[in-house]
């Protein structure tokens, strides 16, 4: 019988929909090891979706068999159910289908929309940028100090002339190293599921919180990677100076005021952890966090595939 499995998955889904993301977003350790925290967030997102859809599917298919694969196969072949099928079975089956289509559909739509915007930006950039001070960086004529990269098959790393004027050579190298880290580690792919999740489930506060946390962690991770490749006497201070100069330099510009508060706390957190680095996470804590992430994915998978007790 499957009801126990469905209940376990539902409990897991409820935990992953609110308390777990809330705890992870409030925890202090992610700042000390953004990479491990990013792995945990991916696990939370994936396990959350899996258990949510799984719980509905398992409950809906319960009359057809003793394990999900068995019940699914018997349902697909149109075999009669072993137990009586009630209305709630059909309701949960429908909900499972709607939710699955919603999550996958929004993911695909987000990807398509983002790819289209990127292509447009790349077309514009290829016309207006000039070769920059670094081999792989392009220069865009604009007074605001801005640096960004457009990920994808043909990545572009762009510095504005305002940025080049504002920063010295070491600081500029730190900025470029940070953007290169985004591209090298494909951070846009880590961010995509959370952009989609937020769009698919706007009522879920955890989706918003998760997206914000992942955005910040990706920046911190890029800072960490950048530090490894910087020479100079005090790379941490150089990068912190570059961040402050770039964030403050475009202050009071054409940026809408409503969006500022969120990014400001993120910027401050980045600067603080560069200037006053916390101890790295001890190996034991690191490994237990990673084990937790793996377990988080294994539990719903096992519940879905193994025969119910």
């Amino acid at each position: 019988m499957l009801p126990a499995t469905a209940l376990a998955l539902a409990v897991l889904a409820a935990l992953l929909a609110w308390p777990v993301p809330a705890l992870l977003a409030r925890a202090r350790w992610p700042v000390r090891d953004p990479l491990v925290a990013l792995v945990c967030w991916q696990a939370v997102g994936l396990a959350g979706g899996l258990s949510m859809i799984g719980a509905l599917l398992v409950h809906g298919l319960a009359p057809w068999g003793h394990s999900l694969p068995e019940a699914w196969w018997s349902w697909v072949r149109g075999e009669p159910a072993a137990d009586p099928v009630r209305g709630d079975h059909w309701v949960t089956l429908t909900l499972a289908a709607v939710l699955a289509f919603q999550l996958v559909g929004v993911l695909v739509l987000s990807w398509a929309r983002i790819a289209r915007t990127r292509r447009r930006h790349r077309e514009l950039l290829e016309l207006v940028v000039q070769p920059g001070p670094q081999a792989d960086a392009r220069l865009l004529e604009h007074p605001a100090p801005v640096a960004f990269c457009i990920p994808g098959a043909r990545p572009l790393l762009v510095l504005s002339s305002g940025m080049v004027a504002e920063l010295d050579e070491d600081q500029l190298a730190a900025v470029v190293a940070h953007e290169r880290a985004h591209l090298a580690e494909h951070h846009h792919l880590l961010l995509l599921p959370f952009v989609a999740w937020k769009a698919a489930l706007p009522v879920l506060p955890a989706a918003e919180r998760a997206h914000g946390a992942v955005r910040e962690l990706v920046e911190m991770r890029a800072d960490d990677v950048a530090l490894c490749s910087l020479s100079g006497t005090a790379p941490r201070r150089t990068l912190a100076e570059a961040i402050v100069a770039a964030a403050a330099g475009s202050a009071g510009g054409e940026v809408p005021a409503g969006a500022l508060a969120v990014s400001a706390t993120g910027v401050r957190a980045r600067v603080v952890r560069l200037l006053e680095p916390a101890d790295p996470l001890p190996p034991a804590a690191r490994w237990s966090a990673l084990t937790g992430a793996v377990l988080l994915l294994l539990i719903p998978t096992a519940l879905l595939l193994l025969p119910a007790f």
Binding site: L124, L140, H142, P151, E219, A251, R268, L275
Partner: protein, 113 residues
């Protein structure tokens, strides 16, 4: 043989520098050092038109001109980059967002300590 992307840039440079609409034959002559055929110039112009960077008039021969100046394109792009649309960070990874004057002061204090 130059790539299409380079040719697009070269053609746009000529159009931006020109006073008025430019005929395709004149573009071919100006790009003579690259050994570009007239058909290639037309291909490049069509691509640029599809991207919305170039327009043509109905004169004979057709005159081509840039839809917006280089500065306008740069400004349009920066408007998008500086804007904070919900999925902006997914489209492009910006080094750091902007903060208001008060936050900027606090950040400088952090550095000064």
């Amino acid at each position: 043989m130059a790539s299409l992307g380079e040719l697009e840039r070269a053609v746009m440079e000529r159009l931006w520098a020109a006073d008025g609409p430019v005929a395709a034959t004149r573009l071919r002559d100006e790009l003579a050092d690259r050994g570009v055929a007239l058909t290639t110039v037309h291909t490049v112009l069509t691509r640029l038109e599809q991207k919305g960077f170039v327009q043509h008039d109905d004169a004979r021969p057709r005159g081509f001109s840039a839809r917006a100046s280089r500065e306008d394109h740069a400004a349009e792009l920066m408007h998008e980059v500086l804007g904070q649309a919900a999925d902006r960070q997914a489209v492009l990874a910006r080094f750091v967002g902007s903060v208001n004057d008060e936050e900027a002061r606090l950040l400088r204090e952090l550095l000064g300590r």
